[in-house]
Symmetry: C2
Subunit: 125 residues, 2 copies
């Protein structure tokens, strides 16, 4: 049994803990639409139909489900204004902004990964 020691190499326990954290995080922001809804609402608060128009391809069923989910997890709030008829406005919470770094890193990595894939596809052709 050879043990490789390296300052940048995480230990077994660190890895297991980290993995659990990462999977928890992924569980929350996972799915085709959650981040789209969050990003859309971080830009500005919106009504149901506005969201459905901006997020092309989402069905009302799925949007309703995602909104409920996101509200439960405290990423957005659903505000009912007593106009007539009532207007229902969805807003991003302060908590949703804690995702900023995560989104930043995912975006940066995703971008360079796509570049990489493109280049490797050119090599093949």
């Amino acid at each position: 049994m050879k043990i490789i020691v390296n300052e940048s190499l995480p230990t077994n326990e660190e890895c297991a803990g980290s993995l659990k954290n990462v999977l928890d995080a992924l569980y929350v922001i996972n799915g085709k639409w959650k981040l789209a809804v969050i990003l859309c609402l971080v830009q500005s608060s919106k009504r149901f139909n506005e969201l459905q128009n901006e997020i092309t391809g989402i069905s009302s069923k799925v949007l309703a489900k995602e909104l409920k989910d996101l509200e439960l997890n405290d990423f957005i709030t659903r505000k009912v204004y007593p106009t007539s008829p009532v207007s229902i406005i969805y807003e991003a919470t302060e908590y949703s902004k804690t995702l900023k770094n995560v989104i930043g890193e995912l975006s940066a990595w995703g971008e360079q990964h796509r570049e990489k894939i493109k280049q490797s596809m050119r090599k093949q052709s």
Copy 2:
């Protein structure tokens, strides 16, 4: 139409681009097992059965699929050593280390999110 300007608020186009990047990134690292395999191999290179023993719960079918996937995306390499019988060793690539920041952010966020959920559950009870 009111336009809200704020240095920390991303524009529409930035968001759309960012969203695409983020979804690309999530697509690659998504699923129950991919990150577990990567983390396991970053610690040390391993054979198929070693991986299956270390990653409790994964079936051989799923492990084989994940390994193929990860190899295609250049996160791991499959090396065949001409011993007799041949030994097949999976190794993490340098490229898999580019995920370091992403994993770091996800882990940090996931940890504080779990803390938050715990506290909000205490409040309820």
